[in-house]
């Protein structure tokens, strides 16, 4: 049986430090849009999560 957290924000990745403050999930600050996508891709591949866009410059990795 596979046990894991689902529907849970695994990571928040943003280029805008003002948009996201503290929270229950780790926050990754990216330099620019390209860096943001790279971080999201790497995290999502590790946890088999899906990347969702909240706002331009802020994305979430969520395990569905």
């Amino acid at each position: 049986m596979e046990i894991g957290l689902t529907h849970f924000i695994i990571a928040i990745v943003t280029t805008n430090k003002d948009a996201v403050s503290s929270g229950s999930s780790p926050i990754f600050y990216a330099k620019d849009e390209e860096h943001l996508n790279t971080i999201c891709l790497r995290i999502s591949k590790v946890v088999r999560g899906m990347v969702h866009e909240v706002d331009s410059g802020t994305k979430l990795v969520i395990k569905q």
Binding site: N37, L41, M50, V51, H52, E53, Q64
Partner: protein
Amino acid sequence: MNEYYILIIPALIMGTFSRVTMMKSDYRQYPTYPKGYLAHFTLGFIAAGLGAIALPALIEKEFSAITFLALGAQHFRDVRGMERQSLDNIEITEMVPRGTAYIEDIAKTFEARNYMAIITALVTSVIVYIAIVFSIQSYIAVFIGVLGGLGTHFFIKNLIRGKEIGDIAEVKEAEISFDGPMLKINGVFIMNVGFEESRNIFLKKGLAVEIIPKDDNAIAYLSNIGQRQAIQHNAANQLGIRKDVDEPDFTPIARRNSDNGNIVMGIVLMRPNINALIDVVKKTPLLESSKQKPLDSITNLKYRENKI
């Protein structure tokens, strides 16, 4: 005892035949794995045996034999459990899961097919017996019995044949678009796709269909989540989905348009072909567990009578 062989053997053959013909190898490829064939052939043979010896036992006034039928029924309920468990076990290995409702439906079908073998065998032996009572020659009696068994087989087969999505709804091509990161199909929001690349793949290779229910009962059928999972599974399984386990972006999702009850589904296939997708969706079986007839409820009937 020997005079009963004329009842038992044709009945046994007809009952087994009834079970074997239902093991057709189609797109579901289930239970037609080689080992599954043997397991279900044997169970079908046992079921036919139970049906075939019921009448000779009654003629011999062995009324306790009926308890064996009860035992058989219990056994075939276990067949349902066995199928359910086996499909549940492999569920996590499926790229797009079948869903519990589809599994339950498949398991029920397996149970029902064994009862079909019992009834076919029983009817065959009863007809042969009646023919012999009327002093018809034994080979003609067997012939009539076989015809009766065949009739029973096709009658039950027709009776348990379920409907398909195409019977209750129209399926049309739908349009995929993006509103920022939000994937939309015919204006219905489906999901948030964060990667630009995934969005491009959706726009380039994605296909979408809209399932339009024909009446209010069909709206209720299609609202069932298990039914939608079955559609997703069939489409992904038969047409080849373009996805791996670490790409949840391309999981097919069927969503309901809350305004009119239509279902929209988007999918990314290896070889996109909209006509094939429409065909597969139309041929998805309508699950027994999703069947509902709200139009036949007392409230609805009363309401409609007052309205008309």
